[in-house]
C-alpha cells in the first residue's frame, strides 16, 4: 500500500510540474501576442488578427499569432493586474487601463497620449434598441422617462457598458436648455425608476431584452445593437438613435512591462498602430465600430447615423473623477437607490 501511495504522489507531483512547465512555455516567448480585450470585440479581433498576421509577415518576414481573451472589461483589467501577461490591452474604458498603469505599474501613466485620438482607433456610441414598429414611439432620451415605459440597462456597478449608458443620459439632461447638475440627477433618477432589472453585464442585458422579452427599450452600445439586429432578426427590432449621445472611446495600449519580458515589443507596437491603418479601420467599420479615419467613415456612413456627441473628458472631467463621483460605493448611482 505504502509504496503505491508514495509512487502515485510522486507521479502526481511530476505531472503537476510538467504541466506547469508546459503552460509556462506555451504562454511566453514564442513571439505570439496575447490581446486581453472585453466582450463585444470578439468578432472584430478575430478578423483583425488574421489581417495583422498577414501584414506582419510581409513587413518582417516572420509569422506572428495573436491569442485573444475576452470578458467584462473590469474583470479583464484585474486579471492583467493580477498577473495575466497581456502584451496588448484593448478595453472598454480608459479607466480600466489607467488602473493597470496605476495599480499594476505595468505601463507609464502617459499611455493614452502615445497613440492618436486618445489611443482609441475606433469609437462607438450609445443608442436604443426597440421592438419592431417602435410601439411606444421612443425617439429620444425623455421618452424613456414616461410612466409605464420599461427600460433595460445593466448595472453601472458591475458593467463598463452600463457606465456609458448612465453618462449618456446624464450628459443629455445637462445639455438641455436650463440643464444643470441637479436637473441631470433628477433625470437619471427618474430613468432608473423605469428599470425593472439591473443585469450584471451588457450581454446579459441584451439577453434579457431580446430573449426574455423584458422591457420596451434596451440602452446599448451601437455595435452591440447592430450585432443584435443582424444576428437575431431584423424583423423583431429596430435601432433608435437619440439626438445627443456620448462618444465612447474604447482605448488600446501596449503593456510595456510584459512586452519587454516576452521580447515582443516590435510586434505589439505594430499591432496597435495597424488598427489605425486603412485595413484596420475597414475591419472596425465592418464590425460595427465607428472608424476614426474620415474616408473609411464616409464609405460606411449609411450604417452610422449622425448624432451630437460629447465626451467623458469635456463633460465629466475624465474617468477617474467620474468613477469617484458617480459609481464608487456611496456615489450618486448608489444614492439613487437609497432607501427613503
Amino acid at each position: 500500500m505504502k509504496p503505491i501511495v508514495r509512487n502515485s504522489l510522486l507521479l502526481i507531483g511530476v505531472l503537476a510540474i510538467t504541466l506547469a512547465y508546459v503552460a509556462q512555455s506555451a504562454l511566453a516567448g514564442d513571439g505570439s501576442l496575447l490581446n486581453v480585450s472585453y466582450d463585444p470585440t470578439r468578432e472584430f479581433y478575430q478578423e483583425y488578427n488574421a489581417a495583422f498576421a498577414k501584414h506582419w509577415q510581409q513587413k518582417s518576414g516572420k509569422s506572428v499569432s495573436v491569442r485573444q481573451s475576452h470578458g467584462g472589461s473590469g474583470k479583464q483589467a484585474r486579471s492583467v493586474i493580477d498577473g495575466l501577461e497581456a502584451d496588448v490591452v484593448t478595453l472598454a474604458l480608459a479607466y480600466d487601463i489607467q488602473e493597470i498603469a496605476e495599480r499594476g505599474k505595468l505601463l507609464p501613466d502617459n499611455w493614452q497620449s502615445r497613440l492618436p485620438n486618445n489611443s482609441s482607433p475606433y469609437t462607438s456610441t450609445i443608442v436604443f434598441l426597440v421592438r419592431k414598429g417602435n410601439p411606444r414611439g421612443i425617439k429620444d432620451w425623455p421618452d424613456l422617462l414616461k410612466p409605464g415605459t420599461s427600460v433595460v440597462t445593466p448595472s453601472p456597478k458591475t458593467s463598463g457598458g452600463a457606465r456609458w449608458n448612465y453618462l449618456a443620459a446624464w450628459g443629455y439632461a445637462l445639455k438641455q436648455n436650463g440643464g444643470n447638475e441637479a436637473a441631470a440627477r433628477d433625470f437619471v433618477t427618474q430613468l432608473y425608476r423605469n428599470v425593472p432589472v439591473l443585469d450584471s453585464g451588457a450581454r446579459g442585458a441584451t439577453i434579457t431584452f431580446v430573449k426574455h422579452g423584458i422591457g420596451h427599450v434596451l440602452i446599448a452600445w451601437e455595435n452591440e445593437a447592430l450585432l443584435a439586429i443582424n444576428e437575431m432578426g431584423k424583423d423583431n427590432f429596430e435601432i433608435v438613435v437619440p439626438s445627443t449621445s456620448i462618444l465612447a472611446e474604447p482605448p488600446v495600449a501596449v503593456v510595456d512591462k510584459n512586452v519587454d519580458k516576452h521580447g515582443t515589443r516590435a510586434q505589439a507596437e505594430e499591432y496597435v498602430k495597424y488598427l489605425y491603418s486603412d485595413e484596420g479601420q475597414e475591419i472596425a467599420a465592418r464590425r460595427y465600430y465607428r472608424p476614426r479615419n474620415p474616408a473609411v467613415f464616409a464609405k460606411y456612413a449609411a450604417r452610422f447615423p449622425a448624432v451630437k456627441l460629447f465626451t467623458v473628458d469635456d463633460t465629466f472631467g475624465g474617468w477617474t473623477k467620474t468613477q469617484k463621483v458617480h459609481f464608487a460605493d456611496g456615489g450618486i448611482f448608489d444614492q439613487i437607490y437609497q432607501p427613503k
Binding site: 500500500m1 505504502k2 501511495v5 508514495r6 504522489l9 473590469g74 474583470k75 484585474r78 488602473e99 495599480r103 448595472s155 456597478k157 458591475t158 425593472p196 432589472v197 439591473l198 443585469d199 450584471s200 446579459g204 439577453i207 434579457t208 430573449k211 426574455h212 422579452g213 423584458i214 468613477q323 459609481f327 464608487a328 460605493d329 448608489d334 437607490y337 432607501p339
Partner: protein, 279 residues
C-alpha cells in the same frame, strides 16, 4: 468535525503518510487561499470594516443570500427525500434517465442554468407566464433567487439520502409491521430516525452550495439594490472598483457565517447519530 471521538482500529497502515497528505492537501487547496483572504481585509481598519459590513444595502443582501439559501436547503431536503425514496424503493421505466437528470445541476455551467431558469420563469416564460397571471412573479424577485438556489442544491440533497436509504434493512420495517405498527408509524419511528443524519448532511451541502452561488442567480435575481441583490454580486461590484479590501471583507464575513452554520449542522448531525443509535 464529528464531536464523538472513538478509538479506531487501524485497518489501513500508514496513518502518518495519509494524514500528512490530507493536511498538505487541505493547506494547499483550502487553508492557505482562505487565510490570505483574511490577510487582505487587514488593509481596512476595524471601523471601516464594520461600516462596510453594516450598511443597509449589505445587510439586505446578507438577509437575501442567507435566507434564500436556508429556505432552498429546506425545500431541497424535503424534495430530495421524496426523490431518493422513489429511486430506492421502486423500479420503473426511465429510472436511469431520472438518475441522470438529477445530476444535471452539478454538470451545467451556472450561467447556462441561470439563463435557462430565467427564460422559463420570466413573465413571458413557459412556467412564469401562468404564475405571473396569478399575481406571483418569479423572475427578478427573491422568489426567483430561491428557485435558482433550489435548482443548484437538489443533487446534494438526493445523493446524500439515497445510499443511506438503500442500506435501511427491510427486515426492520417488516418486524415493526408484524408488531402492528401502521405505515406512518413505521416511517416515523423506524425509517426516519435512520436516515435523518443523511438528510441533515444533504441539507448542509445544499446550503453551502447555495450561499455562495453567483452565476445562476445573477440572471434571475434582477440585481435591484435593497431588493434582489445577493452578497456575491456586491463582492463582484466591489472588485469592479478595485476595492479588494472591501470585497474580501464581505467574502470573509460570508465565509464565517457559512462556517458557523455548517458547524452547527454537523453538531446537530452528531447529536442525532449519537442519540438515535438504537440499532
Amino acid at each position: 468535525m464529528i464531536a464523538a471521538a472513538r478509538v479506531q482500529r487501524k485497518t489501513l497502515p500508514g496513518f502518518r503518510l495519509t494524514m500528512g497528505f490530507t493536511l498538505l492537501y487541505l493547506a494547499l487547496i483550502v487553508i492557505v487561499p482562505l487565510s490570505s483572504l483574511f490577510g487582505k481585509t487587514q488593509a481596512l481598519g476595524l471601523g471601516a470594516l464594520w461600516d462596510a459590513l453594516t450598511s443597509a444595502r449589505v445587510l439586505a443582501a446578507f438577509r437575501l443570500s442567507v435566507g434564500a439559501a436556508i429556505l432552498a436547503a429546506i425545500i431541497d431536503s424535503v424534495a430530495g427525500l421524496l426523490i431518493a425514496w422513489v429511486l430506492v424503493r421502486y423500479d420503473f421505466f426511465g429510472k436511469r434517465l431520472m438518475e441522470a437528470l438529477i445530476d444535471i445541476p452539478l454538470a451545467l455551467p451556472t450561467a447556462v442554468a441561470g439563463i435557462a431558469l430565467t427564460t422559463a420563469y420570466s413573465e413571458h416564460g413557459v412556467l412564469g407566464r401562468h404564475l405571473a397571471e396569478r399575481g406571483i412573479p418569479v423572475a427578478f424577485t427573491p422568489l426567483g433567487v430561491t428557485v435558482a438556489l433550489v435548482f443548484v442544491g437538489l443533487p446534494f440533497a438526493v445523493r446524500a439520502v439515497q445510499p443511506v436509504l438503500a442500506d435501511v434493512e427491510i427486515e426492520l420495517e417488516e418486524a415493526a409491521a408484524s408488531l402492528g405498527a401502521t405505515r406512518t408509524q413505521i416511517f416515523r419511528r423506524v425509517t426516519f430516525p435512520l436516515i435523518l443524519p443523511a438528510i441533515v448532511s444533504g441539507a448542509a451541502q445544499a446550503f453551502a452550495r447555495a450561499v455562495g452561488e453567483y452565476g445562476s442567480v445573477v440572471f434571475i435575481s434582477g440585481n435591484m439594490p435593497m431588493k434582489t441583490e445577493i452578497v456575491p454580486l456586491l463582492i463582484v461590484s466591489k472588485l469592479e472598483q478595485y476595492d479588494y479590501a472591501g470585497a474580501t471583507a464581505l467574502a470573509a464575513a460570508m465565509l464565517l457565517l457559512s462556517l458557523g452554520l455548517l458547524i452547527l449542522l454537523h453538531r446537530l448531525q452528531g447529536a442525532i447519530q449519537v442519540g438515535g443509535d438504537h440499532t
